[in-house]
């Protein structure tokens, strides 16, 4: 340190020769290049709850729709009074109350299958007409899923088309379309659905229609907001100056970029449609007997809940699992598509 700076002699020997740097290795990308969807998939896979939910939903869909070959409405409406109100019975579960065909009557477990031929058993018991509850739940789940998915699809179609047109056209058109949305969304969903159901005949089609008509505004709003910002992007400008038609720009450029919003929003629409169907059928203004859905089963089960609790518990459990799975899946997809967004 005490050396004077002026005494330092710099000679060529002071320098050490370094080989030409390997810029190639510094710029090397070690990880594989990932597309947007691959990134989404990696993030989604790491979310255990969402993965389990996805598996549960797939299993339920496969069972509900795969069973169509064995379980249809004509076999389900056949009553068998000799088997009425039997509790669940599983082979090899004689030791477990609740699955051994016994039911609690006045505090004592009694065998409800005493008068039923040996070898005949129902895994989820039977309803008041002797129909297999397991079959009815599977069929009901199918109907509930159909209602929800079809309603969500229409909701998506109306909402996306409306949102894109409103956002793309802008100006007066946008203004009018937004005022219409404002008016519709300040009418409670319940009122729209009920009025639709009163006018149309209660049934699957009218429930789907009512749900689709009442729930597309959220989707339309989000799509419009995103379209407004996308439309100023350079690639859209490029497409326009190249003379691409508006319809082609919408389908080729806008919709792929809107896909994450569409998927997330649809995933949230499905559970609310499932809830609404169950709710309407439960109070008796939705789907009604002889058609079956989870709401119809809950309605029937509730009447006998005090004496035959299983008739309500099983459909309720299926409905709750379905709702939880769809909600978790929706959250998982939202986090996967938009990791920076709110959690």
């Amino acid at each position: 340190m005490d050396q004077d700076a002026s005494n330092v002699k710099i000679t060529p020997e002071s320098f050490e020769h370094v080989e030409k740097g390997d810029t190639q290795s510094a710029e090397h990308i070690s990880g594989p290049s990932l597309s947007f969807m691959q990134n989404v998939w990696i993030r989604f896979k790491s979310n255990k709850a969402a993965m389990i939910s996805a598996v549960i939903i797939i299993v339920m869909v496969v069972i509900a729709f795969g069973s169509s070959f064995w379980i249809n409405n004509s076999s389900l409406v056949k009553s068998a009074p000799q088997y009425a109100n039997l509790p669940a019975k599983w082979k090899g579960f004689d030791w477990l109350n609740g699955l051994n065909g016994k039911i609690k009557q006045n505090g004592v477990w009694t065998d409800a299958y005493a008068s039923v031929p040996a070898g005949k058993y129902f895994v989820a018991g039977t309803d008041y007409l002797g129909r297999s509850l397991a079959q009815r739940i599977i069929y009901g789940t199918k109907i509930s899923l159909i209602v929800a998915v079809v309603a969500a699809f229409f909701d998506l179609a109306i909402g996306v088309a409306y949102g894109i047109i409103s956002g793309w056209k802008g100006g007066m058109t946008d203004n009018i379309m937004q005022r219409i949305i404002e008016i519709i969304s300040s009418v409670p969903t319940l009122v729209i659905v009920v009025l639709m159901l009163v006018v149309l005949k209660p049934g699957i089609t009218s429930i789907i229609l009512a749900l689709a008509i009442s729930s597309w505004t959220t989707m339309a709003r989000q799509i419009r907001a995103e379209t407004l910002s996308l439309k100023n992007e350079e690639y859209i400008l490029a497409a326009r100056s190249l003379g691409e038609s508006t319809f082609k720009i919408a389908t080729k450029h806008l919709i792929p970029n809107l896909s994450s919003i569409i998927i997330i929003q649809t995933m949230y629409t499905i559970p609310s449609a499932i809830f609404f169907e169950a709710f309407l059928s439960f109070i008796g203004i939705g789907i009604s007997a002889p058609e079956t859905s989870l709401g119809v089963l809950l309605n029937e089960g509730q009447k006998n809940f005090q004496f035959l609790p299983y008739q309500m518990w099983y459909p309720a459990a299926v409905l709750c699992v379905l709702m939880i799975a769809f909600n978790l899946l929706g959250d998982g997809l939202r986090d996967a598509f938009d990791p920076k967004g709110q959690r």
Binding site: S186, L190, V194, I283, G284, Q302, A316, M323, N327, R343
Partner: protein
Amino acid sequence: MAKYLLKRIFYMILTLFLVATITFFLMKMMPGSPYANEAKMTATQKAIMNKQYGLDKPVIEQYITYLAGAAHGDFGISFQYSNQPVSSLIGARLGASAQLGLQALVVGIILGIIIGSIAAVNQGTWIDSTATIVSIIGKSVPNFVLAVLLQYYIGLKLGWFPIAGWGEAAQTIMPTIALSVGPLAETARFIRTEMVDTLSSDYVELGKAKGLSRIEVIRKHTLRNSMIPLVTLIGPYAVALMTGSMVIENIFNIPGIGEQFTKSILTNDYPTIMGVSMVYCFGLVVILLLTDIVYSLIDPRIRLTD
């Protein structure tokens, strides 16, 4: 602000007018009449009935009469309960529904804030996970399923609260719980997200740096700021509570509007259906306007303009 409010009120009136018009013509389109099943009525009797309900006049005249009536809360006479005006039918039931809805809203929001803020403060721990699970279950389990389970296990088996009915405070507890679970779950999720955001903001860091205690930072700087946007959720909550009350009031046999609505739908009591629909719409537009005003008052950053 005044201009904005005038505009909003104009849209409110427009909305209500459109709903009234649409419901009126929808109900007119309906096949059948309220006494289609009374087979033994002679033509004269029908004419007398039509005259009593004003159904003999041209549709346009009926429409104008209806609008004029609806403007000051007169929705005609119920088909189901003869000689009972719809307005008094609804009026008698408004109290129970409003009380139930308000109780559920308050309970849900308060418990939701508590659960959400505890989860946010303990972010990443088992407390947080438990709160998340609770809110997912609360969001997913339909309130009418919960209501039936509460009624049977808490009401009948344990006998803690009356099974059904309305009048005593104890009778309101179970329906309130069942209805409040939805808002509770939503609030808890919302508050947790907001608080996690706020906890990492600069002014919270400053508060900590100044040596404020943990409790003080959370109470004064985090929770208060996280609660403001909650006001925007009151509109959606009101919608959910209206839907929920319809089935909860049926299960617990509460003389509210929801129960009346279900009954009217099942008996094709069109004047009552139209009246209840209008009351629901009116309730929602007023709530939406109020929440907007309150939001701008408590958060000066929000300006009520377009």
